[in-house]
Each structure stands twice: as C-alpha cells, then as structure tokens.
C-alpha cells in the first residue's frame, strides 16, 4: 500500500511519544539498581554503587526461586512444544468436525484473564485434594504455553507448500521419512522460536502461579513479595534486570528466527 502524500508533524510526534512511553520506564529499573539509597525511591539517586550485584549474589533467598523458575519453565516448555506442535499439525492439515472449537480451546487459556486459569486450577486442586507441588505449577504453565508454540507452528505450516510433502511421497518416502527429512527441517526454527517464547512467558508468569504454587516461591513470586514488603530495595532491581534479560534474549532470538514471514513470532501473545 502506498503511503499518504504528506506526513503531519503532529502524527509523527504522537507516534514517537507513544513509543517512548513504552520504553523509557524500563530504563529506570537499570538506574535504580546502582543507587546508594535502599529505603526510598528518591530521584535522582543520591549516589551510585555496584555493591548490590554482590549483595544479590550472596542473598541465599534468591537462588531457590531462580532454580524453581528455570525448572518449571523448562518442563512446561517441553510439554508445550510437544502438545502445541501436535495440535498445529492436526489443525493445519484437513478441516474436520470441531476444528474451530478446538482452536478456540487452545487460545482460551490466554484469551481469558490469568486469574481465571489460576482460580480454576486452584478449585480443581481443592476439589480433588491435590497438594501443591512443582507439578501443580507446571500444569498451569504448560496449558497457557501450548498456544504460543501452536501459533508459531501453524504460521510456518501454512507457508510450507503441500507440494513438498507430495514430492517427497512421489520419490518414495513414507509418512515418517517425509516428517523426518522434509517437515521437521522446515519447522525447526519456528519450533525453536515458539519454544523460546513459551520459556520467556513461563519464566516470567506470576498471576496463574500465585494460585498454583502454595508455599513455593518462583522468581516472579519472590519479586512480588519484595514489592509488597521490601528489604534492600536495589536487590529487587538487580533481580528484575536478571528476569528482564532472561526474557528479552529469547524474544529477540525468536524474532530473528521467524523474520520475513507473514506471521512473525510474538504478534499474538
């Protein structure tokens, strides 16, 4: 589509202002990690120091939540990769009865607010007297991560010409050989991108997790507790930087892996 002839200055300014509104706040997190003031949020910071990185490293209460978050994200991502790509393979192939309903069911866990998924799982555990464990967290995370993998896999399958699979069959390959040597190599980067986005989503998730974790603490839950009852505020900033980086890198990589397609990763969170 051709662009309009003239570009109103007000529009450019509003668009640039909007983008700045989206990005500047995050920079403050970085700034406050170096402040010497540990009680208030005074701006500008009275002084600057690097001590909080060392303090955070030595805080024993930071490490168990970090390991738990990594474990949950790894298991949930693996499950979501398996279930999401199966669903994509089935739904992108033929149209069959109930296809629309199934795709709605896949999207529902992130279309409805997280509190509904969380409270539903909490109710189910209460009804069935299931005690909270790492597994109860993973169940919730895998459920809302399926759609992330599914979206990426479906977008790639749509671009993948059906003629490729037919050519493979004509050359004598059976369904499994076609999958191994034709479909999988073409799907690889889309699945990697979907997996990384799912990992980022799970690693950072807090709303569903607070309902399914019981007394356990993932890194976001630890952060939430620090926000409500802070001690050594800059330590929270250091952890926030770690969380930010852990989600930021996979997202950028996922963008690079799927760039140039009609559906780039991340368009539908």
């Amino acid at each position: 589509m051709r662009s309009d002839a003239r570009l109103p200055l007000a529009l450019t300014l509003a668009a640039a202002g909007g983008l700045m509104f989206l990005h500047l706040p995050i920079l403050l997190i970085f700034l406050y990690a170096f402040t010497t003031d540990e009680r208030t949020y005074q701006f500008p910071p009275p002084g600057y120091t690097l001590q909080w990185f060392g303090v955070t490293w030595n805080r024993a209460d930071v490490w168990p939540p970090l390991w738990l978050s990594l474990k949950v994200a790894a298991v949930a991502t693996t499950l979501a990769l398996l279930l999401g790509s199966l669903a994509a393979a089935a739904l992108s192939r033929a149209s069959f009865f109930g296809r629309e309903q199934i795709s709605l069911l896949i999207i529902l866990p992130i279309a409805l607010p997280g509190i509904i998924t969380g409270m539903s799982l909490r109710s189910a555990y209460a009804v069935m007297d299931i005690p909270f464990s790492t597994l109860t967290i993973v169940l919730g995370h895998a459920t809302f991560c399926i759609v992330i993998v599914y979206n990426n896999a479906v977008a790639r399958l749509r671009r993948l010409s059906g003629a490729l699979a037919e050519a493979s069959a004509d050359l004598g390959a059976n369904a499994f050989q076609t999958f191994r040597f034709v479909i999988l190599p073409n799907m690889g980067s889309a699945l990697l991108a979907g997996g990384m986005l799912a990992f980022a989503l799970s690693f950072d998730e807090v709303i569903v997790t607070t309902f399914t974790a019981g007394q356990q603490s993932t890194l976001p839950i630890w952060m939430l507790n620090e926000l409500v009852r802070p001690r050594q505020r800059p330590v929270t900033n250091v952890v926030a930087i770690v969380v930010f980086a852990t989600t930021f890198v996979p997202i950028l990589l996922a963008y690079h892996l799927t760039r140039g397609g009609d559906a780039t990763a991340g368009a539908g969170k």
Binding site: M1, R2, S3, L11, A14, A15, G18, F21, L22, H23, P25, I26, I29, T40, Y41, Q42, F43, P44, L82, L83, L86, A87, A90, R93, A94, F96, I102, L105, I106, P109, L112, P113, I115, I116, T117, M119, S120, R122, A124, A126, V127, T143, N174, A175, F176, L201, D204, V206, I207, L227, V228, T236, V243, F244, T247, F248, I251, L252, T264, A267
Partner: protein, 323 residues
Amino acid sequence: MSTPAATARAGAALPVLLAPRGAGDRLTALFWRRPGLLAALLVAPPLLWLAVVYLGSLAALLLQSFYSIDEFSGLVQRDFTLKTWAELFSPANLDIILRTVTMAAAVTLGAAVLAFPIAYFAARHARGRWKALFYLGVMLPLWSSYLVKVYAWKLILAREGIVTWAAEGVGASAVLNAVLALPVIGGNSLSTSYLGTWLVFLYVWLPYMILPMQAALERVPASMLEAAADLGASRWQAFRSVILPLALPGVIAGSIFTFSLTLGDYIIPQIVGTSARFIGQAVYQLQGTAGNVPLAAAFAVVPIVIMLVYLRIARRMGAFDAL
C-alpha cells in the same frame, strides 16, 4: 550401458506398485486411505490435555462456586447451595465489580486513543527498516517481564520519584498537586491513586491494542483514500468517514485484550493504587488469607460472564475478522 529395449524389459519385470518395506510404509498407506485417522491421532494428546486440565478446572471452578463455607468451622461444605452466589451479590461485592468494570472501560478508552497514532504511523508511513523498528518497538514491551514493568511504574509514581522531581524541575508542581487534589481519581501521591492505577494498566496493556489496530489499518486500501480525496473530502473527513469505520474492527479486537486483562488483574492495583479492591484482588484474598474458596470461585466466574457478553458484541461488530 542399457539399451532402450533392455530398460523396457526391466520395467516390465517391476511391479507397478512398490511392495511395502515395513511397518512405516503400511501405516503411511493406512493414513493415505483414512486421512481422518492421522488427524485424530495427532490432535488426541493436546485435546485430552486441554479437556482434562483446562475444561476440567473450569468445571471445578463452577462446582466450587456452588459449595459454601461453614461460618463456625471455616471449612468448605461440599453440598449444593446457592448461598455463595447470594453472598456475591451483596452491595460491597457489587461495588468491587462496578469499580473493576469502570477501570477496564477507562483503560480501554485510553489505550485506543494512545495506540492510534502509533498504529497509524506504523501501518501507513513506516517503511523497511523503520517498519521493523516499529514492530520490535511494540513487541518488546509486550513480551518483556510484566512484573518488571509494574515495578518500574512504582519507581516512577512514588512520592519522592521521578514524576515529582520532573514537575519541580519545570515548575509544574502546582499542576501535579492540583491533579492529585481531584476528587475520586486523585490521592496522596500518584502511586496511591486511581489515576496511578489507570496509568500503569494503560502502559502494560497498550501493545495489545496497537498490534490489531495496526493490522486493521494496513488493510484499508489506499485507493479508497484517493477516491475520498478525488471527491473533495478534507483530511479530517476522509479520516472520519473512511479510515475510522474500516479500522473499527481492529480497535474492537484490541479492546478485547485491554478489557479482559484489566478485569482479571490483581497485581497492578495491589502495587499501585488505593486500598479499594478490584475483582482480582477479591479472588486472591478470598482463596488465600480468607480461606473462602467457594466465594473466590464465584467471583472468578464474573469476568468470564462479562467477557462472554463482550465477545458476543465484538463478534457482531466484526472484530474476529481483524484478529
């Protein structure tokens, strides 16, 4: 070297169809004859998972809302009753629901206004490198850590924080104080007022509005704008009667996210805002410290019902074509 005649003889000796070379080939033949079988095998695991874990949990949620809590022992009584639902409709709880819906509507309106210039610029003016930059510029905040974003706003809005400092710097402290002195939306500081809660909601959900809006604007054909100009429409008239109606499905699609996400959030009003509760906070406190899982479950059904109504209206206005 084979002559054409030799090739023809060898070809005649080969069967027309290759014999199956093993289980893989036989299954391939079966899938070919019955394509539904393969699709069913593929879809079964994810479908089972979602049906058991997700739909099963939603059923448990409904079931819980028909249990009740014993006032004396504080234990959940597993008998069917409408007592919990009657409790949900007490004036105090209706207040919470009304407050949440009002906030969700205000956030949605704000997001639509703020998102429009960004979406319009990205859809109709940005090219090549700039287009990619705009896309990343919207997508990165969308995906970056939710808690980190909320925390950043706690730093910004704190009484001793950057907003107060900037207002003093440009001599606008009086303006800030006047805004904080406003009834209802004002407060002691931005971080303890509805205005602050609204700002943070707006910030966190804005990308969800931009992306569908941009997609809808990209689909407005340039020929229609040329036609409008040929017929003598001013910029404003073309915007008002061509672009806006065609972009509306995208706006509504975006509003589904901003509305739904605001309805269910309990972290933002807990970190930034007044002590008055939203639906999410009520659910969280009831199932946690109060130990009243049935009432929490009934409360969680409220956003589902509101969103079902909202989605029905949105579908009628064509929002699903823009998703």
